[in-house]
Amino acid sequence: MNRRHILTRALALAAAATVLSGCGSEAERRTFPVEVTSTPMTGANERGWTVTVESAHLSVGPVRFFEGRALTARRFDWYTLIGGTAHAHPGHYSPGDALAELLTTRTVDLLTGATLGDASAVTGEYGSLELTLTAPTHATDAQGVLSGQAMRVRGTARNAEGVERRFDALTSLPKPIQGVRFEKSLGMEAGRVRIAVKLGTWLGRIDFATATDLDADGVYTFPADSQAQNALVRGVEDTTAYVVTWVEGAAQ
């Protein structure tokens, strides 16, 4: 079933809330802002590279919220943690009913953050969201900061041996990221959703020594079949790279 239709039905539920009163379903229509920001990378990554990020941009949206909970660990045990945050095999992701959606696509400067817009929503038990990292259009990236890709990070990586790599990392994903954790019992309270991109997860597994394509400006890019590009893609599609929280109070 088309998810937009699911949301339409969920919104219809809200309109019919009075019919169901007494049976536990009293969804109400509402909106809430969605903002995107980032958290910095600290320390060396898994491959021993310390990164100074000079710019980070992301083309993001639509964002859709669902009632289905991501697969989450409940206690601190490594082999339960690796279950990660999604229903975890082909055909098993079960987002459940759609509860909110924001159809806007924007290019966001992750180092400053930005508000994407207001999501059309209903109240209810939220469990997860789907994040689409869309290749930008001229309208959404007029300055071309993303060079046609969905994300771009530029910076300098240094390792313990003193090797330094100025780099320019870009990629797009072929499909939305599903099953990002967002557990919230949402009523009519004021607030907004904040999606924080963990740059440390995006860049955390990259061996910058495998970034071997050097341009005229002395900047290395990642060959398509390199470990660096492989690790970048895996980092960007990792649901734990996106920390979604509800921030109480009116939008800033």
Binding site: T72, I82, P90, T239
Partner: protein
Amino acid sequence: MKKWMLGLSCLGLMACSDGAGTVTFTTYGEDYIEKEIPAAVGGEDGIVDGWTVRFSKFLVVLGEVKVGNHDETAIEMTQARVFDVHKPGPVVVETFRDVPAQEWDHVSFAIAPNANAVAGNADAADVTRMKDGGYSVYMEGTATKGEQTKRFAWGFTTNTVYEHCESPGLGAGVTVPKDGEETVQLTIHGDHLFFDDLQSPDAKMRFDALAAADSMGIAGPDGEVTLEELAAVDLTELPSGQYGTGGVGNVQTLRDFVTALTRNLGHYRGEGECEPRAR
């Protein structure tokens, strides 16, 4: 839609719980676990890189079977049991009698370590193996491709509850017939251990990377692929089109990957699905 159904069921349940019936839960490993997972030939299902997998043992600790609805739990299994679903099945997990005859839309069960588990159809030594290792799932087998053979014996401590089980043909939960018996199969899908993507519906079964771990590993290429060797394989060193985590976080090695797949072995009435929740 579920909420509509819930609303309607609030009215419906008040007048539809006369009488009682029996529910029997069984478990079954299907041909893939009992016989083999074949190499894919033509357009048929199978392992796409030419390997054939045969299990010689496939142990699961099944417990916490629950039937209920939004408001109450009708029945609950209190004794976890160890099953070897490589043995011919289906086999009975537990029979519940005098269950109120009505539709129960919540069925769940757990595949989880349990120090007090007893034998289902598993041998006593295997029950001890599961309890001593703290395992929820353990399997032994071989994979063959031409002249190559790789053995594996893997135990996992994952603790997973499978909730909101639903059959494509029969819907959510189970309907208990008045004065009758309903059989519900908790199906174990062993082939899922070899998928090459954690989320894509286009995932394929592969074994090449798992087999190659043997030659990369701690003990060297001795013909056995160990979990320690799988832990030494970083996914970023595998082809980018394979072993995609598809949005599942914190999966970095082949061991992480296979372990994550064990959270989806449990199915419902054949091809039915449940929502796995890690504990």
